[in-house]
Symmetry: C2
Subunit: 212 residues, 2 copies
DNA sequence: ACCTGAACACCGTTCAAGT
DNA sequence: ACCTGAACACCGTTCAAGT
């Protein structure tokens, strides 16, 4: 029978989940699909495209319907959904991080849009809303890559002691950073008499460089 | 003459800077040092240890003396110094990101400590200060990996149009995210009448899970 | 102590040729 | 249109043996 794009992605997702990202090679994938490595290159231009498709598979449940929520809750919900999706697969965070860097995941683009829309509702103009959205994603990916690698060290037996501060209560730890970011966004759009916050001035979009 | 650890790191840093991370292989490194690949394994346990040493070399100038500055400026200064060090070498951000994930850079640990100390001065207790420090590093690494890959796409000729918003004014864009984070930190330690901010309660360190 | 030689067990990608 | 066979040009790591 014929090999389809989706079969390849499904098998790749299985290998990832069972054996980790180091075992997700084109040759092994081909072997487990009972085809020749070259066959995969009929369906995918290169390995990165394949990984992008796997990332999208992992991120499917991470695009929640949040249209009705106030902006801050929308951001928290999306962040939590993203983290959960990443944790659901072995090395999921690492795979999606790599894919994010190469810009080949459609689902991640969608998540970025949702976050930018929330930031926009918070009062940021378009450019800064997109920046805030990326900042959230940097945090979720960074945190979760860390968390997942520690989980694996831990499961594999040896956790370096004294580091228990870094593994306990991961949900609370994750929420702390999310709160930091959401608070930062609020601060820039809440004028209060004693904190010196000012309305959003935006980043000068490309003409001058205001930073020292 | 004898091969020393520092010679290996120096040559590795040169290959990285001239040809990028894809060309930084143990075999090529050995070839350019006129030794056998096996020789490298006398000086380094594995490739990750070597990459950690290269990361430390790159990060040397990114550990600024900031003891005298107020906490917010210390954070901004460290963040800017880190970004600058990453940008100074081809694929520097990617290399340090990979090394950060594997926890093998001493310099990055030092930077994390400096940031945590600043967060501590901002009013966070130890656990949360360490979390805030990591959040800053996630941001700087994420942002700079992005920035550097776009710089390379751009230099290599084809920049996908309509994306100019993402490449112009990088200094201002970087500062925006830093401000977001610093503002978030301030918000949690500034009691003002209309923003509902409360003093730092900390993450319950490992006993209960306060998050839904 | 420090390095070579040689092997082990792999990679991603391409492409003429087959069906 | 879809895939095989076979090659190209590599990898990281180990380890007996040499000096």
């Amino acid at each position: 029978m014929q090999l389809h794009r989706s079969d390849v992605v499904t098998k790749a997702a299985h290998i990832l989940d069972e054996f980790g990202i180091a075992d997700l090679t084109m040759r092994r994938l081909a072997r487990e699909l009972s085809v020749t490595p070259g066959a995969l290159y009929w369906h995918f231009a290169d390995k990165q495209e394949l990984l992008g498709a796997v990332a999208d598979r992992i991120l499917e449940p991470a695009v929640p319907d949040v249209a009705a929520l106030p902006w801050a809750q929308r951001i928290s919900t999306i962040g939590a959904a993203l983290r959960e999706a990443l944790l659901s697969s072995t090395d999921g965070a690492e795979l999606v991080s790599a894919t994010f860097a190469s810009g080949r995941s459609a689902a991640l683009a969608r998540i970025l849009d949702l976050l930018a829309a929330a930031a926009s509702d918070a009062g940021f103009e378009t450019t800064n809303a997109a920046l805030a959205a990326r900042t959230i994603v940097y945090y979720v990916l960074g945190f979760t890559v860390d968390e997942q690698s520690r989980l694996q060290w831990d499961a594999a037996g040896a956790l370096p002691d004294g580091q228990s501060v870094l593994t306990s209560n991961p949900n609370g730890r994750f929420a702390f950073g999310m709160r930091l970011l959401v608070d930062g966004m609020s601060a820039q759009h809440t004028v209060s008499p004693d904190d010196g916050a000012s309305p959003d001035e935006g980043v000068d979009t490309g003409v001058t460089v205001p930073t020292a």
